[in-house]
């Protein structure tokens, strides 16, 4: 079922797949409150975050690497809780993973969360794009 997913992400996906529609919304709201801001060292290089132009909400993405393991940080406006929630899922689900683990994640993994009944295709594309940009950063680090 959750083949190819890092364990933490697989667990989150499983939680969602067991939820009713209304519970899914509540769970996403919970996650939206858990998004961790970037620590100073993630901002130290002074570079602009990777942007995700495909998402209707302005999203910035940063990665911090330590000993070959990655942590992702997202800039998402406060008034976009859906994207904050999704970003928090990515942040927690990919915490301290390797670039190889990230590159193995199937692009359509969110289908297992059954979000199609809640979100428009356009929204789902935005979410897919966030993963695509996460992978881009991971690939850049993997290739050194």
């Amino acid at each position: 079922m959750s083949e190819g997913l890092p364990p933490a992400l697989a667990e989150i996906v499983a939680d969602f797949s067991q939820c009713e529609r209304q519970e899914k919304l509540a769970l996403l709201v919970d996650y939206s409150n858990q998004l961790l801001p970037p620590p100073p060292e993630a901002l130290a290089d002074g570079e602009a975050p990777e942007s995700v132009p495909e998402c209707m909400t302005p999203v910035g993405l940063r990665v911090l690497e330590r000993d070959g393991r990655l942590r992702f940080y997202f800039d998402v406006p406060q008034d976009a809780p859906l994207i904050r929630g999704y970003a928090a899922i990515m942040q927690q689900g990919l915490w301290d993973t390797t670039p190889e683990e990230i590159l193995r994640i199937p692009a359509d993994f969110y289908l297992q969360m059954d979000l199609q009944e809640l979100l428009t295709p356009q929204r789902l594309k935005g979410l897919t794009a966030i993963l695509a940009h996460v992978k881009r950063l991971a690939l850049r680090l993997a290739e050194g």
């Binding site: 709201v29 495909e54 008034d79 859906l82 979100l119 295709p121 356009q122 695509a132």
Partner: protein, 281 residues
């Protein structure tokens, strides 16, 4: 030229809403782009509608049918004589879509809260996570009002007669240069560009970016008239799926009083996929 909106009764200020929170004749309806925003906190007493999960038809590409719309109103405690006040995020973009749908089914007392959610929050007014319930009503909808909705046949006719079409998307969508990323599906349309003859007046230009409130009448009039969008002609507005253009429809119809304005909700995701439909870039 007098500087008043043509139908000032279609707009209320946040203060008015604050004074009517417990008014049984008023129902506040929050309609957002972000489907979680209501759940994080909303105006006390407000009910939620979501463009995708509440207002769209569960099967075909369409919005609710008449009986489904009646069910919705009954569930939300809306009577036929209830004053329904819409507000939402992103400059009331989806609030205007909900307004348009209610107008289509003939509801009489409809209002938009000027400035939307952003203004209410900026003024430090209260939000709650408590979801209200209201006694169900026996709401009955009127027959759909075809004068405010354009189908593709109407758009072809409009184009062939050289009548005004307003494309309210961003300049990049209008010109057909899409944001591109390899292997990533675009916009939901096979082709980019715009309907021949359409002028590009991005929807958000009708709103003050700092306050999210509508621009004053004279500025709005100038915004549209400079492109030849005048009240003497029938106007059709469109965007990608018909939500942004419902804000333009609201502005033209209610704030400027244009008598004949239609929203083409098929919009670019229909036109840009239609075999044989002419496109301009």
């Amino acid at each position: 030229m007098n500087d008043e909106y043509a139908h000032p009764e279609a707009l209320v200020e946040t203060q008015w809403v604050a004074e009517h929170l417990n008014d049984p004749d008023v129902r506040l309806v929050e309609s957002n782009e972000d489907p979680l925003l209501y759940d994080t906190g909303h105006i006390p007493g407000a009910v939620k509608v979501d463009w995708f999960t509440t207002l769209q038809h569960p099967l075909r590409r369409d919005f609710l049918e008449k009986d489904q719309f009646e069910d919705l109103c009954r569930r939300l405690g809306i009577r036929n004589d209830t004053t329904v006040v819409f507000y939402g995020d992103k400059n009331n973009w989806f609030a205007c879509y909900a307004f348009w749908l209610f107008a289509y089914y003939g509801h009489q007392n409809l209002k938009i809260m000027n400035g939307g959610r952003a203004k209410w929050v900026a003024e430090g007014r209260p939000l709650t996570q408590e979801v209200p319930t209201y006694p169900p009503t026996d709401y009955t909808a009127k027959e759909p009002d075809p004068s405010i909705r354009a189908f593709r046949e109407d758009v072809f006719r409009q184009m062939e007669q050289g009548l005004p079409l307003v494309d309210v998307r961003s300049p990049q969508e209008y010109s057909g240069e899409l944001i591109h990323m390899p292997n990533y599906p675009q916009e939901g349309a096979q082709r980019g560009g715009h309907i021949p003859g359409a002028v590009n007046i991005p929807w958000a230009q009708a709103v003050n970016p700092e306050t999210s409130t509508f621009k004053p009448p004279a500025e709005l009039r100038q915004l549209y008239e400079q492109y030849g969008i005048t009240p003497d002609k029938e106007v059709i507005a469109y965007c990608r799926i018909g939500e942004r253009s419902s804000l333009t429809w609201f502005v033209l119809r209610y704030l400027l009083g244009y008598p004949n304005v239609k929203n083409y909700d098929g919009s670019w995701t229909e036109w840009g996929n239609l075999v044989n439909a002419p496109i301009e870039k």
